[in-house]
Symmetry: C2
Subunit: 612 residues, 2 copies
């Protein structure tokens, strides 16, 4: 086995209670890097079109990469992968914190869950041992309470990832929460856990996987840390976290407002500076991360003593998107979502969707269980969060995701801000044209991070691959080419697994990879590795029923906004897709990667399955 | 006298060689704050329409404020004020470094020069003593050489501000340079020095002016420094300096390219990161400044061992504006401009103007002294810098400023990027609409800092005055109201004198002011103080012949740019001016501040002079 891996995946059958160890093949770890890339390869055969994501047959994989648990800065991350109950397509979500590193150090590269327990359970893995434990007393608890209860029982060194009531109730966008409100948020992995009666996973250990070239690794580490310290975004993140983006985002017209129909709001009430001025803010770092972009706040409101950081996505989703500008309410809503275990992007978009429907007369007070869902009403937003998590009244409909909710409420498709069933996050493609291509082509629906091309447009380039900032409104072939490389690289990040806020260059990252695994790579090779991962995930989606026609953006996000930083820009998604399909060698009729491309990438099985 | 002042202005008659001390009245220091505000009040009577700025009668004032020479962070700045030979209107320019603090500690609040020496001289002021010294041997030297020669003679503790050959040759945008290439760049103050045969001013001393409330001051200082450290722009500035703005600037469409006709260029070749990757960069701080945004580079090219920092304005003026993307060449050009003593904004705009004229067939190779002034030709740019500084060939015409040059070359007014005779700096009003109002109404022509409203649009707000970020393309009355307050406050900055990159809040600054001077002010009062200063400077300009019609932008910067971050926006300058005149109580026909407004501000003489 290459370095950075134990070479072992734990397989837990929750129906029978049997636990065994699967060998991980070296070839697979080399070809698919680790993390969600490896997960796609491991799950490929099991994920079929007929599979109900919430059935016992549905597999759920907790997975790490060769970086996880190492001293590589910003690498304590794991991914959870399954067929998404929200989108019916490839589901994956990653989170940082301490749990990921501890998961790796517990002695396994990942945990594959199958089956369904007859009663609530949780899994405890410690230094190569694993046991299924009763969770009857934990069922119904919030994620914070669950974590505390398990750590009180098993010890404070144990790290916990769990679902809350939203996952138990199989809210389609339920999240898995670990440590200080770290969320594996998107695509409803919490609902899959809930469907298995799996309340939590607790991990502990000190079993470090081997490093191929420890000497080079040790020499590299201080240089990498110096590189991080010399990157000014590090200081920005350390002070403000992602909330720093609120002001810049508005100046670009990048912060969707009032359900994607405006872009101006009082940014100063919600930004990182406002948070620091109002509260004592303590930086929180994931294991081994020198950046510490997370924050804990001394809060003292809404019955809370302290609260987790308010990330940009959350602040924007429940803030401007709902017309809410009350920082305290947003902190509390974030707490509620974390406690219930719900993705704040989909949840915020759901609340904004309801408010928009109410304001437009398409959703009445009666249907809303008596709520008058006016723009900006924080109490309504709080109430809707409770209702969704507990599937009460309108909450039961919204808990299915806005695509299904719209269909149930008679709201036309184009007025729902989803792509492939996933709610659109808080970066407006009208502000950064390539973000439209991101939403259309990401392997998990409207994901803003695969790739987060807007970061390139504001100057965070990857010179090793010639990915350079140009005109943020342009969508010419050169940019699409650049986009594809960046999309490939981001797939590798999710496979290493490395945080996308890593402040290291791709050169440094490739050196780390070479030193840990013993597989020498140059930065450019990440492009090919990522291309393979992208294509296997795309192949999964096609097998699961994704059609070429699904790669489009809804009308609501393609209407020109007459004020704000987009200055009326609307991205030309058709043009971008045309270039994209041609360059990726995707059949523009079916959306299938061409057989030659799949074969060139060594995806022989996928080539056969898609093309016969 | 209030604290922060010696109460003494040195008056040097260079024609007669007499030196005397003028008393500074407490009333004047209170009413006009100090710095350029005080200068306007002191020079008001002398600056007449008939005065030739380069005649012996023309006064030249080096001035400091109550903050200068104190421990207030970012306060080692001075201003030079005179009638501008470039614009014929109010001229002022400020610079940082060590010279300003030393000027104050030399025992005087300022130095007023009149007359003209029959031979080259320089002034040495040290601890209350002043002497005129022969500069015959220094004439013809670069500013770097002049500084070294004087410090070699008088001691390394002596700080020097001098002109170079450009000032001697009375290039209309000649600068005064002190310390490490710190430039009092704009409006041609170097030409005024040259016209007086005044090569340099050397200062030294340890005479601190009194502080009214030293205890409060001492308590405030560490808090102010903590405030600076908690401001993330501090770290950005420390790492990259102003060059950091290149990437963000392009994403906003804010970096004028090819003589204000485009906005896309390879930003990555010119930004702060590129500089740090190519060279060893040492931070350089002005006296007492914890930010240290200045840089010194180990260069080793073009015959130089080291070079001064490349500021954003310089990089943009000679870079994108001329279509040049060679970082080394830009560093060398910056060195040349500093050595010759020329404003890099006006010089860069002049070179771009010539290239644009050449490319459009309006300036031939012959007229250009054999140069083919194509976009992007760095050698042409270098040659033109030499030619302008030495007034050779086309350089003699360009040395008059682009307004005069255009008139001589038969290029129509609207195609020259100047306002009131001053070349437009490197922030595009199509990217930030209010910047159009800045250029139209600044007290010194197209100045980007009075106010730098684009900083508000990207989130650097002044909450104390309700100055908040909104839509950067908007130009509604609320924004104009906010703009006027910010313009007033920036006038106060130039009067304290405080660097506009100060990372302290207005509240902290007002506390400093109260502690130093003993005059209690609240942040809001800065608005009124600034209003008075703005209006006296405006009154001077009106007396000097400024007409309401001069407050307009040239066509070339009001044409929609079809690509890049402005997304085609064109600011509605007429609308903004209409609101502006109404809110400032300016007569929209004559451009004169209404009599009642002037009287309300205590500007009784100005009221009488303008209205009879």
């Amino acid at each position: 086995m290459i370095g950075g891996f134990h070479g072992k995946i734990l397989k837990v059958d929750l129906s029978t209670g049997t636990i065994k160890t699967l060998e991980l093949s070296e070839e697979m770890a080399k070809s698919f890097v680790g993390g969600s890339g490896l997960a796609a390869a491991l799950l490929y055969d099991i994920l079929t079109r007929d599979l109900d994501p919430l059935s016992p047959d549905s597999p759920l994989l907790f997975i790490t990469g060769s970086f996880t648990g190492s001293k590589v800065p910003s690498s304590s991350r794991y991914a959870i992968c399954a067929k998404s109950p929200l989108t019916g397509l490839w589901g994956e979500s990653t989170a940082g914190g301490h749990f990921p590193a501890s998961l790796k150090l517990s002695g396994y590269d990942g945990i594959l869950f199958v089956g369904r327990s007859s009663k609530p359970v949780y899994l405890f893995v410690h230094n190569g041992e694993a046991e299924i434990k009763d969770a009857s007393d934990l069922w119904g608890l919030t994620t914070y309470e669950t974590q505390e209860a398990i750590r009180d029982e098993l010890g404070r060194d144990v790290k916990v990832a769990s679902i809350g009531p939203a996952g138990e109730n199989m809210v389609k966008f339920a999240a898995v929460i670990n440590d200080e409100g770290k969320a594996a948020g998107r695509t409803g992995m919490g609902a899959v856990m809930g469907s298995k009666n799996l309340k939590a996973v607790a991990v502990y250990g000190n079993m470090e996987p081997p490093i191929a070239d420890p000497k080079t690794f040790s020499e590299l580490l201080p240089k990498a840390i110096a590189e991080i310290e010399s990157n000014p975004t590090t200081h920005m993140s350390r002070l403000y976290g992602t909330l720093d983006y609120v002001a810049a985002g508005m100046s670009y017209g990048d912060v969707p407002t009032k359900y994607y129909q405006d872009s101006i709001f009082p940014a100063y009430k919600l930004n990182g500076k406002a948070l620091r001025e109002k509260y004592y803010v303590k930086p929180i770092a994931c294991t081994g991360c020198p950046i510490a972009c997370g924050k804990e706040i001394e809060f003292g409101k809404y019955g809370l003593e302290k609260a987790d950081t308010l990330e940009y996505e959350t602040a924007a989703a429940f803030g401007p998107l709902c017309g809410i500008d009350d920082l305290d309410a947003l902190i509390y809503i974030n707490y509620l979502c974390n406690a219930y275990g719900m993705d704040t992007i989909s949840a915020g978009a759901s609340v904004a969707f309801a408010m928009n429907a109410y304001e437009k007369g398409k959703l009445t007070k009666e249907k809303l269980g008596g709520l008058e869902a006016k723009w900006g009403d924080k109490d309504v937003a709080i109430e809707l969060v409770h209702m969704i998590a507990n599937r009460k009244s309108i909450g039961g409909i919204l808990a299915e995701g806005t695509k299904v909710a719209a269909s149930k409420l008679g709201i036309e498709d184009g007025e729902v801000a989803v792509v492939k069933g996933l709610e659109i996050p808080m970066h407006d493609p009208r502000a950064f044209s390539m973000q439209a291509l991101t939403y259309a082509t990401s392997t998990r629906g409207a994901c803003h991070m695969r790739p987060d091309y807007f970061t390139v447009e504001i100057g965070q380039e990857i010179p090793e691959l010639g990915i350079r900032q140009t005109d943020r409104f342009a969508s010419n072939p050169e940019k699409v080419e650049s986009f594809i490389k960046f999309q490939n690289v981001r797939e590798v990040y999710d496979s290493l697994i490395l945080c996308k806020f890593s402040a290291n260059s791709l050169t440094t990252i490739s050196k780390f990879y070479s030193a840990i695994t013993g597989v020498k790579v140059e930065p450019k090779e990440f492009n090919v590795l990522g291309e393979r991962i992208y294509n296997i995930k795309r192949s999964i989606n096609l097998r699961l029923g994704m059609r070429k026609e699904d790669e489009k953006l809804p009308k609501i996000i393609l209407r020109s906004i007459k004020r704000g930083g987009t200055q009326g820009n609307v991205p030309n998604i058709e043009e971008m897709l045309r270039h994209y399909y041609a360059m990726r060698k995707i059949d523009p009729v079916t959306g299938k990667p061409m057989k030659e491309k799949l074969e060139e990438l060594g995806l022989l099985k996928q080539a056969k399955d898609l093309w016969g």
